[in-house]
Symmetry: D4
Subunit: 147 residues, 8 copies
């Protein structure tokens, strides 16, 4: 069996690459999926549908176009990893966690100890909390390999 | 028909009271529900189950006890209002929004114009975005009264 | 048992009143629900959230505010009556029919013989097709009374 | 991952071919599905089951045979494109949109600016509104390619 | 708590009355529901919608009108009793049993020993098999009374 | 796309073979599934679990073993064909129809005109009624081929 | 709002009464439900359907009759308390926990520290673990009262 | 069609190997899945996330990591075999059975006659009860081969 793992959250560090590369090196039977993680591309995803003078609507159109991809990939994943970094609001990551919880999709959070308290509701529905990508790789490896 | 409306998010301003009081004044057929909004009580909800030296586990136990109430009330509501204030991470509010979205529960966001961009994914699944409690009251009034 | 019946579609004739009045005269244990059927009020349902220069967004905001009511009431009904009149596109009525079909909510269509052909997909998922409100009343009466 | 995209609505212009051909030219990992779009074949789909003197029943039988294909393909798609043209009632397209909405299937509408108002409820549940097939191709391309 | 019990199947003997009367005599907190059990009324349920020369369509219209009531009441019941008598095909009773099974609605069959073999698939998904109404009453009484 | 079609009902005539052979001759992209249709094997499916003196329990065990296969295959099919022949009670076929109806699985009935009346509830939820295997093949061919 | 709380597990100590009495003393808006907890009555629940020489079938019939009550009450509860005592296998309590988990029904376990290890999978899906009925009462009180 | 069969329960005897080997010898189209069945590895599955002084939390973390695998594999299986041995509490096996029951996943129990009574609720929702792996193999073979 091949596992599909959705990587949600922070886009300004290389945590995705770390996880993907190590899992590839281990030859694990996993496919990784993500939203579009290029900031500019993501913010302008709806621009093709016409320019907007009002920034709310520009954001709205792009967010909805991105949601086609995000919701479909979350619904099709077997496991999600949700990363909270040090900067930005990252409400979309918490939104994804709530979305997973309601669909009974298992997810693991990846964040620093400093933000335990504000993430307690998100962690309460998670299957695990990790602080380093290496831990995520070990759990994935344990989960997907048939011992 | 009586409508049940769940009020999620910010607990440090009186937005809940404003909405509840005005809806009562209008005699609307609505019941409001919420998580436990008293900060201290909420943080210590799990303490009765035994003390924890590790703050992660203390938070974890309390967050899970709170989740009994929160998830049940969200599942039973007809509409949720999700408020993002100026301070704090408020990841639990975004989590509730994602939870509503996955369950196809309609929700309205209530937040300032300044945070449109970081909330674009949350707003993209909302039925409306309001900036003042009075707007929420008008929409509730419009929705629940049989014209 | 009390039955909840959602009345969808045409708002420019008195078919709703005919059905409601006759059912009341018969003392049937039914509650009728509807979207907001006053044209002006419905079109401006979102205006309280701020003016829009672009008519697409004005319509969008109002349609979403109306959807809070419509989707909730359809989900809570036991039966829907969907009326197609002689004028206007009435795509919202067909949309409601598709929504009912996917949720396995039984619905009855009410329309003239002239539009059988364009409505064949909508009728194909309906439990019955009627041409006059009186027929609807007879079917409701038959269905809700415990003979 | 391969995406399955259902194309619903207007059958008298070449919008389907435009989208399919451009996506093929771009080598996108997509499969397109549709109802049977040949008008005559669709209208007579049920004739093999026996002739009907009453046109309602002829339409009914054909519409139900077509529904086997339509409902199955919508349930299996990842995204639907719903096209409203200039002519005909096209209630089946609006019905498909409602069906998608209730199943939480993302859909994009494709229609002219002139019919924004009557389509506002259909657009309110859509992930995007486009006016030209080329925009649809760009959104598909953005969504299915792993950037 | 009040229990709702749907009584499906044979309409030519008084098994329904026996169960209902004894449960009433015991003052059990139960409500009984049924399809319309008057044969003539049931067969002509769709006649109000217009006469049909073809008996298939007459039956079809009536069966669909009856299905509004039947499917709604099965979906709302807590338990179904499904009775197979000595005469007639009674495929509708077996249909109701399959419908209950797919919805995880518990049901009890009530039939003679002689028809065990042809009913084995129906009994395989049942919670119990009884041969006399008195047994049904005892099980209902046991189930709904809080000992 | 490949379609999976479940063939339910009568096991004493060659209707399954007729449909399968003609579809194969037409090279249609379909897979056919069925319960175990060999009468003896089916009736003794549970015997391996131990002999039973009571025929009810022997039937019960076999019917449950068969149900593993039947329910799984119905849940995985895209379309079911449900055949009622001239003999036997065939309650299992009607049970399968009810099971399909509750799961929103489309099904087509295949039966003689003589039994229209007792099958009216089963036909009321069907997508089509055919009297000859050749009609079924034409509908399958129409449905699965991309015209 | 009134909360419905299902009490599952051990029937040989008075933990149910302790919880019920204290909640009543506190006047909490809760209704408690349970399986039939009288051992003899529960074991003989199916005897009315006929004697069985084989103890497996006697148990089977009684367990199924009890399941009508148990599954219905679990599906209708807002919260379950699942108690593991010192004696007996109590596989039915663990079964109820798994049933709750799959339905996303929140549950709290109530058991001694000595059996933490064998109950780790059951606790992993629980919202809380308590060792004394008094803790359960405090959590219920916290959850159902609107502070 | 290939069948996926989940093997749950006892890890200290070779029942899994017996079933797998015989099915392989018979060349059956089946894939077997399981939780991680190596005791030490399973108990320490969460250790990579950080040491815990409290044994409850160590167990909790490991059980949750294991649950990622277990719940996903149960949701994806077509049939589960649930084995209860002579030793240990095996509450996780009963939990898996309840989980299967709520999801309508068919399962077969495999246990000795001595524990019929305490397993009656678990057996009541099972499709079959076997006492030897060889019986399981026969039922699998019967079920997956297209006779």
């Amino acid at each position: 069996m091949q596992w599909t793992i959705y990587l949600s959250g922070e886009i300004h560090t290389d945590w995705r690459e770390q996880i993907i590369n190590r899992c590839e090196a281990l030859n694990l039977p996993v496919i990784f999926t993500s939203s579009v993680t290029e900031h500019e591309a993501s913010d302008s995803a709806g621009d093709v549908l016409g320019a907007e003078s009002n920034s709310f609507w520009r954001d709205h159109k792009s967010a909805k176009v991105n949601a086609i991809r995000i919701k479909t990939l979350i619904q099709q994943c077997d496991l999600a990893i949700i990363r909270f970094g040090e900067k930005y609001k990252q409400w979309n990551a918490a939104f994804d966690a709530g979305y997973c919880a309601a669909l009974s999709k298992p997810y693991i959070t990846l964040h620093d100890e400093k933000i335990i308290h504000p993430l307690k509701e998100v962690d309460a529905s998670a299957m695990a909390w990790a602080t380093r990508p290496g831990q995520i790789v070990e759990i994935i490896s344990y989960t997907v390999l048939n011992k």
